[in-house]
């Protein structure tokens, strides 16, 4: 039954190839069917594909962490598919393939299978990145992403040498000590490109600032969420926090350098692209503290960031000129940017406060300093862009379609609601954290009480 989550989008993608024009209107119904199916699946089960038992065959694991991550990613896809104007001709089929591969990446319990799904995700991302005639940026992304895929494959093979198995639970039980550094390094190089760690994130501004609203809205939220989930699953559940010190240093460097780079940009979309790199670095450095509270705070911040980033990217790419003729869209944009800075009453304030609390409790004073420094820079450039967009008298502004205005307005009101009553997002973050930290339960779910 769990395999249907991957099979339904994949089959429908191939069925709708002849009807390229119509398929963008069928996309929401398929995603909705996926979400309904997800709620009817049994929790804490591992389904073995083709009848092969756990250490030998491929398993699809549905515990609380993967269930809530699937829910978040599918809702992001639903929101994107409700705005059919931003999808170019023929790209809705690629979106379906991307949905199938991200679902597989979240569900799988097998390291080579995760490599295959990662390559499918990457291929779909290259095609989405090439919309609005941005072929050169997409080509750079392809080169970097393929090298990362090669390193990830090497990491998978070395873990097979060290254990004699490809199953995540089996690797966490039987890994030889001498193989651990190599495997962790290779897997980290492979995952760092997609989750936007700075020395390997040179492709992000080229791809996100192409002028297409779809590319950053889906790659910067859904795919990033999936990749950060996979990274925490591998390094926290499987390796029990082995390599996390290195990830912490890289995350802090990414946060500070990307905020300074975002401050210097002269185009709004490039500034937002660097800001999304910085937020990914912040989330990874918080997650790598590896305590219950810090993981909860990190995922809560990631959820807030994804909600704000959808609004910011869609409006920034569709509105040309000033907000004076699009007042509703301007109000949603301002609310989302205030939440990103972390003003009180907005959702970002709650999550930044939680991050500060959790890092002080674990006796860490470098991360709060870096966070406050980056918040000051963020406030400077986002307020600058807000003033610039509200008060610039530009004649060539267009009307945006009503459904985009409505969806962004609902999302911005939801940000204020989360700022007052944060329980919904906190519950999701807590459940993801429970599934990730409880590796004994994961092993018994997969291998069946061995």
């Amino acid at each position: 039954m769990t395999a249907l989550l991957i099979a339904i989008p994949l089959i429908s993608a191939f069925i709708f190839v002849p009807f390229k024009e119509k398929s963008k209107y069928i996309l929401p119904f398929i995603v909705l069917a996926n979400i309904i199916l997800l709620f009817n699946l049994p929790l804490d089960t591992a389904e073995s594909m083709g009848g092969w038992k756990a250490p030998f065959g491929i398993v699809l694991v549905l515990d609380s962490a993967s269930f809530y991550t699937l829910l978040v990613v599918n809702i992001i896809f639903l929101l994107i598919s409700l705005m059919p104007q931003i999808t170019d001709k023929g790209l809705s089929i690629i979106l379906l393939i991307l949905l199938a591969s991200t679902n597989g990446l979240i569900l799988t319990g097998d390291i080579f299978n995760s490599f295959v799904f990662m390559e499918i995700t990457a291929a779909a991302s290259y095609i989405i990145a090439s919309s609005k005639k941005n072929y050169y940026g997409a080509y750079k992304y392809l080169i970097v992403g393929s090298i990362a895929g090669g390193f990830y494959l090497l990491g998978a093979i070395y873990s097979y040498l060290g254990t004699g198995s490809l199953n995540f639970a089996d690797i966490s039980l039987n890994m030889k000590e001498s193989f651990l550094p190599y495997v962790a390094l290779m897997l980290f190089i492979g995952l760092a490109v997609e989750s936007k760690i700075l020395p390997l994130a040179g492709w992000v501004p080229d791809v996100y600032a192409s002028g297409s609203p779809l590319t950053p809205a889906i790659l910067g939220t859904g795919v990033t969420f999936t990749m950060i989930y996979l990274l925490s699953r591998i390094f926290i559940t499987v390796f029990n926090g082995y390599f996390l010190d290195v990830i912490y240093i890289f995350g802090l460097l990414t946060l500070i350098l990307a905020e300074i780079a975002a401050f210097k940009q002269e185009k709004l979309l490039k500034a937002l692209a660097f800001s999304s790199i910085a937020q990914a670095g912040l989330v990874l450095s918080v997650i790598s503290l590896n305590t219950y509270d810090s993981l909860k705070a990190g995922y809560f911040h990631l959820l807030n960031d994804a909600t704000a980033k959808i609004i910011l990217f869609v409006i920034a790419a569709t509105v040309v000129g000033s907000f004076m003729k699009n007042k509703t869209a301007g109000i949603s944009f301002s609310i989302a940017s205030f939440s990103l800075i972390g003003f009180p009453l907005f959702a970002g304030f709650r999550s930044k406060l939680l991050i500060l609390q959790s890092s002080f409790e674990s006796g860490n004073y470098i991360l709060p300093a870096a966070l406050l420094f980056s918040t000051i820079i963020e406030a400077a450039y986002l307020l600058k862009w807000n003033i610039h967009l509200w008060y610039e008298n530009n004649e060539k502004s267009e009307k945006i379609p009503w459904n985009i205005v409505l969806i962004t307005l609902i999302l911005s009101l939801f940000i204020i609601y989360i700022g007052l009553f944060p329980d919904t997002y906190l519950k999701i973050a807590e459940n993801i954290t429970n599934g990730l930290m409880n590796y004994k339960a994961y092993v018994t779910t997969v291998l069946g009480g061995m």
Binding site: Y139, L142, I143, I147, G150, L153, I157, Y160
Partner: protein
Amino acid sequence: MVYYISFILIGVGIYGILTQKNLFKTLVSLTIIDTAINILIISLGYIEGSDVPIYSKYTQSANFVDPLPQALVLTAIVIGVGTLALGASLLIRVYEKYGTLDTEEIAVKEARK
């Protein structure tokens, strides 16, 4: 011995990606890296003096090399071919848009816009 060959090939591929100005040569370097990784995986599963992993009346002693890396390499080759085709189609589009595949000339034309 085979390990050294594949590591040298990975080095050659990364050197090519870092230094070539022609975009098509970077794509060729990418395939060199892919091939090197595949050779490495195949050589890791080899056991001295063993047979092909096919069960028949001539190989009843089940003295086989490890068949799992070979199955993995099949998948990796297919994925590499797909990536290569996608990269080549993107390069055709780049040539239609800029009229050249040289990185420096493309940067000049981008700056003029």
